[in-house]
Subunit: 386 residues, 2 copies
Amino acid sequence: MRKVAIIGAGMTTFGEHWEQGFRDLVVEAGLRAVTDAGISGDKIDAGFVGTMASGRLISQEHIGALIADYMGLNPIPVTRVEGACASGSLALRQGFMAVASGIHDIVVVGGVEKMTDLGVNTVSDILGGAGDQEWELFLGATFPAIYALMARRHMHDFGTTEEMMASVAVKNHKHGAKNKYAQFQNEITLKTVMESKTVADPLKVFDCSPITDGAACVILAPLDMAHSFSKKPIEIVASAQASDHLALHSRESMVSLKATQVAAKKAYEVAKMTPKDMQFAEVHDCFTIAEIMAIEDLGFFPKGKGGPASLEGKTALGSEIPINTSGGLKACGHPVGATGVKQAVEVTWQLRGEAEGRQVKDAHIGLSQNVGGSGATAVVHIYRNL
Amino acid sequence: MRKVAIIGAGMTTFGEHWEQGFRDLVVEAGLRAVTDAGISGDKIDAGFVGTMASGRLISQEHIGALIADYMGLNPIPVTRVEGACASGSLALRQGFMAVASGIHDIVVVGGVEKMTDLGVNTVSDILGGAGDQEWELFLGATFPAIYALMARRHMHDFGTTEEMMASVAVKNHKHGAKNKYAQFQNEITLKTVMESKTVADPLKVFDCSPITDGAACVILAPLDMAHSFSKKPIEIVASAQASDHLALHSRESMVSLKATQVAAKKAYEVAKMTPKDMQFAEVHDCFTIAEIMAIEDLGFFPKGKGGPASLEGKTALGSEIPINTSGGLKACGHPVGATGVKQAVEVTWQLRGEAEGRQVKDAHIGLSQNVGGSGATAVVHIYRNL
């Protein structure tokens, strides 16, 4: 197994792109990553792209071929992978495996979703396809409802409060306000969150990530070739993926994502590191309660202590373990298939010292955690600079 | 790179499964493959599944997690790949790479589609998502229309006739009639095809593959471990994938699929074989003209000679290169995501000598070719017994 590095990274701004289509977004992110890597497209051997629901969102499948076509990559193989909201990091993982194994050298990894062309109720229904359609969505359990159940149980078991959850949103908006690629670049207060409309009790509008258009892209190469392309290659030290029951009611716990725990354990083992070695992380905060569970399941805080830690500022920029410096899904936005790749882009920028006003000081090691649906897929990557 | 073998294969019958859902089909095919391999599920390290359009067909994405759940595979990673009608063979290719690279040992590869729950016009629209939605389907070019353009050009350039195309359907129905898993088990005559209703001139109903429900599954292992599981492991000698422009109008040729040619060339190189070494093949006959182009692009017949060869019986059982002994997409049926894996199942059965009334005599080497959409993705695998 060869070591694998990110040699280029790029993304579109995340937001409502009324003037750009799916294809435009892909090409923009791809060109930025290729330019950043300083390579020409003909050096690329293969591609993987994460997209959750292009069929229902834009009536287009066969996304690998579309991207090969529009990025001028023919005839190399380009393959779409799908794992709901974890599609992007699954694409990263396929690319990682292709390079690690020696099957391909230079691999482009993209993530993209164009979500704002349809009404919000339709999109909510489409996103429900990330859960168990037959046992959850069909009976009315949309994603806010499912995460609200987890939030309520977390409150019951550990005394987590609505203010603690709200503090996650406040912190991620503060980070997002420092990221020019973020959908929301405005800070908010605890009062704003607490007084916002209820979506699914106890989750309010400001506990929820938005509907977003966007694309992100990274270029991978074997580490031993990486220095010839990039002055600052970032090594992917570990890539781990795990599955859990699709429907919440089948899970062992409602206050942990077991798939995150299993994937994280494997990633730490492979990296020969512990949670304490992580200096910052991009985690999957589709809802504020999801970030609280993530920082517990990843081992940054004991189970049940994620809420108080968030409220006390222990996950903000300047703390020991800043979480979601990009603004996370909450403020940077959540174009579902793009999110996992955007996490890798943000980690790359941090580890290169290029994160501008939101730079983590002396960043050497970072982690990303990306979740599909309510936790039936989880993917964890660990990265370091050299 | 390790050598990779198929140690188990299974499939559902292909057809209209009104009494079974997507999940039932997956589990049935999976259990048959696991039973065939003689392994227990806890030996499986990872899974890949090909599905084209579950989002639009059954409102369900996150298919990897769904399958991990329903096949009792948690917490191992299971990943969905999508490449339109080539989704199944892309899953096979991901599984092949995972085993070849040493990342995983025992890998389950599935393909599935449940298509008959919606009306035929809706399904036709959904299948249009395999082509260029913005430049083809939106303007009315459904798949029969796109392949009709290729057929007309092939007729113009090479003198291919409607009878030659019809002979492909007659032959594949003859083969399908010997396959208890096939959707259509009745023989038809040239007259039946020629007198059937026009769908998109010159293609008639009997030139077109049907809409089908079904699932197929194979189990992969490193060749050096394969004999401990299976008495008759089948080696996958080569796996190759290529891309071409998504829309027909962008292609260099309307009478060849360049992606097939590129993938085939690579597969022959890796296998150190030539088209003459192939004793039989499963090819992508979504329309009869597609089989004619495939047997030319794969090098079995010179360009332009595929039509006469078909009419003269040179691709029938008993000939030098029997094509689509399963009945092909035309008669065995075409549950799009399952087709690529079904091809591998049929090749496995042939190479084990288990193809019953349709057995290719002394079969040692076979090939499968699976196409996404109108040819923007093509995947070629070469297999041999030991």
